[in-house]
């Protein structure tokens, strides 16, 4: 296993991603997050190659003072974006997730349905857990539905099944069953042209 690099690399491990609780309903197509971050932190994040000593150097970062400052009311959704969004994206691969930073004064989440409906979540002063609970409650699949879907998915894995997406494509792979006629020709008296007398079996 290679070294895990970057910020909070546990977010990219499979057990962590699989532990996500939120699976959106089928009607949800897009989720957008809006929140504020410290302007200074954002500029520093963009200049990743800047030497840490130079970060406080006004010659390097001319843009001062930093007018946009994050508010404690935005900390919950920041943590949500950092910790929970990877899990959500993993569990909902067909949903588009976008984060907009410093575009709106208040922190909110907007979800868009397949029929164009927009569901807003005002997450002012929420913790990330509260945000997740609200999303699960309003737009997430219930635990019963998830259990049923898991059961249906398991049924496809039944070893007795055969066909597309199964462990074996054809029943002829099973010992004791009739092989495919392309591999072993059928007995002549099973074949129409001999059975109906168009061809002679002895030939």
């Amino acid at each position: 296993m290679p070294l895990l690099e970057g910020v909070s690399p546990i977010r990219r491990t499979l057990p962590y991603l699989q532990a996500g609780k939120l699976v959106f309903k089928d009607r949800v197509k897009v989720m957008t997050l809006n929140y504020r971050v410290d302007e200074r932190a954002e500029v520093i994040r963009k200049h990743r190659l800047a030497h840490p000593v130079n970060v406080n150097d006004p010659n390097v970062f001319q843009q001062r003072p930093w007018y946009i400052q994050s508010h404690p009311a935005h900390h919950g959704i920041q943590a949500f974006d950092h910790w929970n969004v990877p899990q959500i994206q993993y569990k909902n691969p067909h949903i588009q997730i976008a984060s907009f930073k410093n575009q709106a004064p208040a922190p909110f989440i907007a979800c868009y349905m397949d029929d164009g409906e927009e569901v807003l979540f005002d997450v002012d002063n929420h913790t990330s857990t509260q945000i997740l609970d609200r999303l699960i409650k309003v737009l997430g699949k219930s635990e019963e539905t998830l259990a049923l879907e898991a059961l249906a998915a398991e049924k496809k894995d039944n070893p007795a099944n055969f066909g597309k997406n199964c462990s074996r494509f054809c029943i002829c792979n099973v010992p004791g069953q009739v092989p495919c006629p392309s591999l072993v020709p059928l007995p002549k008296h099973w074949r129409g042209k001999y059975h109906h007398g168009f061809e002679d079996e002895d030939d």
Binding site: K25, L120, V138, G176, V178, P181, S182, L183, P187, K188
Partner: protein, 250 residues
């Protein structure tokens, strides 16, 4: 044929060893359909081009690159949109057509539940908006109060500074009243001559000081010796007022 096949199958199903060794294992099977009928219909790979065609170049394509790009874009867009429509129709099929009336009823129920939850969410949003308004008003109040406190602190500091300055001015004025001027020069000289000041002193290694030119330090009793005044710390010494220091000494 049928007998031999049946025998083979029954033998295989009875004996796993035979099955493992059998030529009928799927990995070793070769399709016999089209055998001898479908002939290979291209030149083998190891045969070079015909001598008459070796120097015949394929016709160059003069289509502008922009046109190719445009065509590619159109094709990609078309495929994307068509696949989107297909996906939508497939999902619609899964939702409604598959189970007929039951699916419709289920979908209507689900939609009703969704509406209820969204309505609940809207109420929650309204509550949060109200809470935020209160919070922002409270924050504004706090900000005003803090600004007022800062203002008051600055005013207090200013007043203290002005008071100090006034005191100092008064002190200086009092000192200046004893100053030597042209008018009282003779009187001051006479006074100085009448009251000679002895600035001499001696110190010892134990930190005592003995004032006066004619003081015999050994004759001063132990309990009457004066310690050299020392500031409590260096900063006191550095920041102390010279006049205050003088007053302290005198």
């Amino acid at each position: 044929m049928s007998n031999s096949l049946g025998l083979l199958q029954s033998t295989m199903s009875r004996s796993p060893v035979l099955h493992r060794l059998s030529l009928l294992r799927p990995s070793t099977l070769v399709p016999c359909r089209f055998k001898g009928h479908l002939l290979p219909h291209r030149k083998p790979r190891w045969i070079p081009p015909a001598k008459s065609k070796v120097f015949v170049l394929p016709p160059p394509d003069h289509t502008p690159e922009s046109e190719n790009t445009l065509m590619n874009e159109l094709v990609v867009n078309y495929n994307e949109r068509l696949s989107g429509v297909t996906q939508y129709l497939y999902e619609d099929f899964l939702r409604f057509s598959d189970v007929g009336e039951v699916g419709r009823i289920e979908a209507a129920k689900e939609a009703e539940e969704h509406r209820a939850r969204v309505a609940e969410n809207d109420r929650e949003n309204a509550r949060i908006v109200e809470a935020r308004k209160q919070r922002m008003a409270q924050e504004l109040e706090d900000k005003k109060r803090r600004a007022q406190e800062n203002l008051e602190a600055i005013q207090t500091a200013d007043q203290a500074r002005i008071r100090d300055l006034e005191e100092r001015v008064q002190r200086e004025t009092a000192i200046l009243q004893n100053a030597v001027t042209k008018e009282n020069l003779d009187a001051k000289i006479e006074e100085a001559l009448a009251n000679p000041v002895d600035h001499e002193y001696a110190i010892d290694t134990e930190g005592h000081i003995y004032y006066g030119r004619y003081t015999a330090s050994n004759d001063v009793p132990e309990n009457q010796r004066i310690k050299i005044p020392v500031p409590k710390n260096e900063m006191d010494f550095l920041t102390s007022d010279d006049d205050a220091q003088l007053e302290h000494e005198s």
